[in-house]
């Protein structure tokens, strides 16, 4: 069976019918995006790897109860966010981690330079420093605000989808985004043009 040609719903149905290889294909499709989501919320690659395992294990165990009321990716994103926020709450209860322990950005500097071409303030700045500062600024946001920034600014999801995933209205998504952007601009004001 060639699972690559099946859509998400078809792969879910195959998994529910007891074909674990269909779930492998779902993991191939969604793991990079879920990785990005979790990483940008935790800023730690090691934690991200563990959480990714936990998220897909949970999804696999629960897929029998998935009734297709939402799309698979909305369902999976909701699981990922719930697990990640629970993890962050536990982590926050433990002794504070130093922001210096946060992982530097995963992409290489030349890639970043290439991608950031045209943004003058970035050219003039130490890119590695900016990466670290971005992660720090993200960690200063509350979990709710970090989540909407990750989903909207980093992952590029529309407001409506974010509302569905988080179970909140579009208006709340916009309001959280507005507040989070203001906060980020304050934390990173030195990187903004005068």
């Amino acid at each position: 069976m060639d699972f690559e040609n099946l859509d998400d719903a078809g792969l879910v149905a195959r998994t529910q019918a007891g074909e674990p290889r269909a779930f492998d294909e779902l993991m191939r499709r969604f793991a990079p995006r879920i990785y990005g989501l979790v990483y940008n919320m935790t800023s730690n690659h090691e934690d991200t790897g563990d959480l990714l395992q936990e998220i897909f294990a949970k999804a696999y165990r629960s897929i029998g109860g998935f009734r297709g009321q939402s799309s698979f990716y909305t369902w999976l994103y909701t699981i990922a966010i719930n697990i990640t926020i629970n993890f962050l709450k536990k982590r926050n209860r433990q002794p504070k981690i130093s922001l210096n322990d946060l992982a530097p950005s995963a992409f290489k500097e030349d890639t970043l330079t290439e991608l950031s071409a045209g943004t003058d303030p970035v050219k003039e700045t130490d890119l590695a420093e900016l990466q670290v500062r971005l992660n720090e600024a993200m960690q200063k946001l509350s979990e709710e605000h970090r989540t909407v920034v990750t989903l909207f600014d980093i992952q590029g999801l529309p407001h409506k989808e974010i509302g569905k995933i988080l179970g909140i209205s579009e208006g709340t998504v916009r309001s959280r985004l507005h507040y989070a952007h203001k906060q980020l601009q304050i934390y990173l004001r030195e990187f903004r043009p005068n």
């Binding site: 971005l134 999801l157 989808e161």
Partner: protein, 203 residues
């Protein structure tokens, strides 16, 4: 999924944030991730007891991890039926004829004050099992109502009958003659219907 097109933004910080979407490991990482996933699943199947796996499976049907407790209608009906069967099996739910309609009949008795008489059948004392005595009383066709009265930790059973068939009460209790004193008119607050007693548990 519809991702927004990467476009220059007025705010370089927000524009730069968008670049973070490229912060993902290589394809090799995800292939290894899938292998690791299967390895952990196999270990879990070996290490976890079967009953835990079964409980997980049932819970995963009932609890949607994305939405919390959201059982399907089929699961809800199934769970309710299973619970009812278990409750009946353990005797937690018992339906006794003398429990039915006690409240309504008590109201009639107090309001009407008809030619009914109410008798103290017996009091609880060592060697007297109140519930078994109530069961005996309930078989008496002449008795109209049976009340369990509880005050200051003492339990008394009263029975009333339209024909005042006192003789039917004789011998109930510890084998001695019962107390047949006619009681004064009673108020609702003073009398608790048997149906309000805690359910009989028998295992």
């Amino acid at each position: 999924m519809t991702a927004k097109k990467l476009a220059p933004d007025e705010d370089p910080i927000l524009n730069f944030l968008r670049l973070k979407r490229h912060e993902t490991p290589t394809a090799d990482y995800f292939e290894r991730f899938i292998e690791e996933f299967h390895r952990r699943r196999s270990l879990e199947l070996i290490r976890r007891p079967i009953w835990k796996l079964a409980v997980d499976r049932i819970l995963s049907r009932l609890i949607d991890p994305a939405r919390g407790f959201a059982p399907s209608r089929r699961a809800t009906v199934g769970a309710a039926l299973a619970l009812a069967l278990v409750a009946i099996g353990f005797g937690a739910v018992t339906i006794k004829p003398w429990q039915t309609g006690a409240r309504e009949r008590l109201t009639t008795l107090l309001r009407g004050g008809e030619a009914q008489s109410e008798q103290l059948a017996f009091s609880e004392r060592p060697g007297v099992d109140v519930l078994s005595q109530i069961n005996k009383l309930s078989l008496d066709p002449n008795l109209d109502q049976i009340f369990l009265e509880e005050s200051l930790g003492e339990r008394k059973v009263r029975a009333s009958t339209g024909a005042a068939s006192i003789s039917t009460l004789r011998g109930i209790g510890n084998g001695t003659a019962p107390r047949h004193a006619l009681s004064a008119p009673r108020y609702v607050i003073d009398v608790r219907p048997v149906s309000h007693d805690s359910p009989v548990l028998s295992f």
